[in-house]
């Protein structure tokens, strides 16, 4: 059932640019790419927040690290996506491994604060990187090169590459969550003491989960750098971490498609409301309030209930 739904949505997403092209609304293709990139980033946060029970308030650090990896490599003359995108994943994952190794020794509010502090340190680090634009950021000369006759400079091609990557990542996430690793991580979220007491080195599992999520966020960052043609320290600011967290809460904490739904709703609301008022965040705030008060499981939870209720 769920898989059929996912395949249906995927087919719609594949057909979408054709419709946009038909009605000459190619702007929306680029907008859809942006949503998909944020969907990937938010899903990676959901992996640790929703499934791992680790409330990280510094996820933008990994998004930004991935983006900067691509931008800096391009600045140094390396523009192949086959090099810079995997590197964005690994550099971000490694960074997450270091941050996680320290942060995961704390719990609760302290964990939230220490991840925030690390992210802010990264933010100021990139501000001080004068060689790569410092506060002003860094332009990308082109989009990354993928070969095979594909040119990412075309928004249409870029959209399909983003879609393929996001879909693949979500599929991998689903496999991982149902496999041993994901089941162990979720059990640790539910009862860490008991997991220790039956013999699991829980710290190690949480750390690996944290690093994987960091890597996935880095990959989203690599795509975002390409999408924007520009990177700046703003990508790492704490408000970005907040945005990702809001997306996850809106969409559904601990639901596979929570990050996706959250990214869609957040960015569409932003786009629609900001056309009317500069105070669009007020509308967003109200939506968030309604979710937190009346639908703690987010939109994915509401949908799941609706599907279950109809049966």
């Amino acid at each position: 059932m769920r898989n059929r739904l996912a395949i249906g949505v995927l087919l719609l997403l594949i057909a979408f640019p054709l419709a946009a092209k038909h009605w000459d609304q190619l702007f929306y293709v680029s907008f859809a790419s942006r949503i998909l990139i944020y969907a990937l980033a938010a899903s990676s946060l959901n992996l640790i927040l929703g499934y791992g029970g680790m409330v990280s308030f510094g996820h933008a650090a990994f998004l930004g690290t991935g983006a900067y990896t691509v931008a800096i490599l391009m600045d140094e003359g390396v523009s192949s996506a086959w090099v810079s995108w995997p590197l964005a994943f690994f550099v971000s994952a490694l960074f997450a491994l270091v941050i996680g190794a320290v942060s995961l020794r704390t719990r609760g509010v302290y964990f939230i604060m220490i991840t925030l502090a690390f992210a802010q340190m990264a933010y100021y680090l990139f501000i001080s990187l004068r060689a790569y634009g410092g506060e002003d950021g860094l332009n990308l000369a082109t989009r990354s090169r993928v070969g095979f006759g594909l040119d990412l400079a075309s928004d249409l091609t870029f959209y399909y590459v983003v879609l393929a990557l996001a879909a693949a990542c979500l599929y991998l996430m689903q496999r991982l969550l149902n496999a041993r690793f994901g089941q162990v991580v979720q059990a640790i979220r539910d009862n860490e003491t008991r997991m220790e007491a039956i013999g699991f080195p829980t710290y190690r599992y949480k750390l690996i989960c944290f690093a994987l999520a960091g890597g996935a966020a880095g990959l989203a960052g690599a795509l975002l750098a390409n999408q924007n043609g520009f990177v700046s320290p703003n990508l790492l600011q704490w408000t970005q971490s907040g945005t990702l967290m809001i997306m996850v809460i809106l969409g559904g904490v601990g639901y596979l498609y929570g990050g996706v739904l959250g990214a869609v709703v957040f960015l569409v609301l932003e786009e629609a409301l900001s056309a009317y008022t500069v105070h669009w965040q007020l509308g967003l705030g109200l939506a968030l309030l309604a979710i937190v008060l009346y639908a703690r499981q987010g939109l994915a939870g509401l949908l799941a209930d609706a599907v279950a209720g109809r049966r």
């Binding site: 496999a179 539910d190 220790e196 007491a197 039956i198 013999g199 080195p201 599992y205």
Partner: protein, 251 residues
């Protein structure tokens, strides 16, 4: 006499000015069912915490099968063969009985850094979990969500989880806590069935159960072991009577 499985040498633990474990020297031979009793606040749970690795001792040594485990963590000790149950039920409330037990089996079934094959397809794991459910007296309740089990059944699952680790030494912290008479009977039967196959350290307030089950009993008072002996010897020990059982004695 059988080999010593657990030996404690001068174990010491304090919380601020309160001494919870006062240089305890003590040992439990392999295969014995050993009960640890003592008045409230004697330091029984603190001792169990140190033996299981949930708390670090401030001094002294813990030897398990001749190996110093004083510095080993909770999960390392499980792999060495020391497992425990909790006084306050600690299970996976949202998962079925079988899933609970399968996690414990998983912990000793090779690396769980596996990211592809669904856990649900690892049938051998769940087969063993079902066998363990029956051993814990939960046959027929395998697919009930743990949070919906009756209190007594949750206690059985609690013990079952410790059992599922296949440890050589089980530390059971008040398994009868909060059980009605009938539920207690079932728990006693469950523990009695383990006799001989495993070394057991039982902390319990239910004196009936303790004197029925234990091969030997140790009495803890103010962080010190004041007596160790057969149930008969403990029943007649003057110091034990004074410290714990009251002037009137028991039973």
């Amino acid at each position: 006499m059988a080999d010593v499985l657990l030996r404690v040498d001068g174990l010491f633990k304090h919380f601020g000015g309160v001494i919870a474990t006062d240089h305890v020297h003590w040992s439990v031979p392999e295969g014995e069912m050993h009960a640890l009793i003592g008045p409230n606040g004697a330091g029984k749970t603190t001792l169990i915490h140190q033996l299981s690795g949930a708390l670090r001792a401030d001094g002294g040594r813990i030897l398990f099968a001749g190996r110093d485990i004083t510095r080993s963590s909770l999960h390392q000790r499980v792999h060495l063969g020391v497992a425990r149950s909790y006084q306050i039920t600690s299970i996976f409330r949202g998962a079925t009985v079988v899933h609970n037990l399968a996690l414990a089996v998983l912990a000793r079934s090779g690396s769980s850094l596996r990211f592809w094959r669904p856990l649900a397809r690892e049938t051998a794991l769940f087969e063993e979990a079902r066998r363990l459910a029956r051993q814990a007296g939960l046959g027929g309740r395998e697919y009930v969500v743990a949070g919906r089990l009756a209190h007594g059944e949750q206690r059985q699952l609690e013990v079952g989880l410790a059992l599922a680790t296949r440890a050589r030494l089980l530390l059971l912290d008040e398994p009868m806590a909060g059980l009605g008479p009938e539920e207690s009977q079932r728990m006693v039967a469950l523990i009695a069935a383990l006799k001989g196959s495993i070394t057991l350290l039982l902390v319990e307030h239910d004196m009936d159960a303790v004197f029925r089950l234990a091969d030997r009993i140790s009495v803890l008072d103010s962080g010190r072991i004041i007596a160790t002996g057969t149930p008969e010897a403990i029943r007649n020990d003057a110091e034990v009577k004074r410290a714990y059982l009251g002037e009137d004695g028991i039973a």
